[in-house]
Symmetry: none
Subunit: 196 residues, 2 copies
């Protein structure tokens, strides 16, 4: 059974569950999405906060272009067009687009980092620690610390908000979920730089 990344992504969006769990559920379900959702539910993995589980089909496309040289486009979803038109929501979308332009995240969330990238990063950090003469028994701990830093730097939701570094983007969004009373999700983004 060939489980495509596209299919895993879809299940992740439906359930909010991590990459490997979704992939395994899909393998078990022979690629059938609904069966896979049921499998995750039986495992109790799809039990996220109630609001966070609600479907987001509305929202806004935001864009930000800096001097014509760096451009960002982002889709932020909410539950109703009423919230999509709310100035608070529109400001959030603008802030997120500027955040992406300034801080160059590579992924929306930690679960989007592919197992290949994680393996490659871990290997690099381990080799670096070894090269500086660190003893073998502390290498894993050092690697864990470096991975946490890696996620904070590369995953949009874990990045410190450029306008208020005490807040992560995840916190910033949680605040708006609280204020606006709807689930809010960053669905996707793209960042272009001329000549990159």
């Amino acid at each position: 059974m060939d489980i495509t990344a596209e299919l895993v992504k879809k299940l992740r969006e439906m359930t909010g569950v991590g990459f490997m769990e979704c992939k395994n559920a899909l393998i078990e379900a022979k690629g059938d999405l609904e069966t896979a959702v049921t499998i995750l539910r039986k495992k109790g993995l799809s039990a996220v906060a109630k609001k966070a589980g609600r479907e987001t089909k509305e929202g806004l496309i935001g864009s930000y272009v800096h001097n014509g040289k760096i451009g960002v486009m982002v889709e932020v979803n909410c539950e109703s067009d009423f919230v999509a038109l709310n100035p608070g929501f529109q400001g959030l979308v603008k802030d997120i687009a500027m955040q992406i332009a300034a801080s160059e995240p590579r992924f929306v969330r930690r679960e989007d980092v592919t197992p290949e990238v994680i393996a490659a990063e871990r290997e690099i950090y381990k080799a670096q620690a070894r090269a500086t003469g660190k003893p073998e028994n502390v290498l894993d701990k050092i690697v864990e610390g470096r991975m946490t830093k890696f996620y904070t730097e590369t995953c949009l939701l874990e990045q410190p908000f450029v306008k208020d570094p005490d807040l992560s983007i995840k916190d910033l969004i949680a605040g708006h979920i609280q204020k606006l009373g709807e689930n809010i999700q960053v669905r996707r983004f793209v960042r272009y730089r001329v000549g990159d």
Copy 2:
């Protein structure tokens, strides 16, 4: 063959060549613009061909968001930052972003369509033609015709320009290459629609 002043004007804009030369080329090309450009190039009269081979590393990121629901980001490259800052070039980038929002191309150019997509399209067209009772010996010809239509609909450079459908996007760009004196290339684009 009736060659309108309008058509001659268009060819002049595309190539920067004089009126009579353009008119003669159009008569020889039986009114086909692209053939006329080729005729002028063979005569060494159009500078477009030479410029089309030059490296493009500068340019602009353009974006266009329609009602917050459809968003486009595009990178258009030129050779120098001087041209990137030219209002004519900036207008071109804006026009291309709006074109993508309105006409939903899937690829920049014909060469970007993957062999898998081509094979799938051909198979569909063949089955459709067969289902309507067309004889086997004309199926390939029908498929070729449908593929040409497919490229015109899905490849940005082959699409008719929404603001002037007599011009393809390729022609529109060729005109700017002539006017600005630099090679211009659409490098990449992305199109988001909320909830897609």
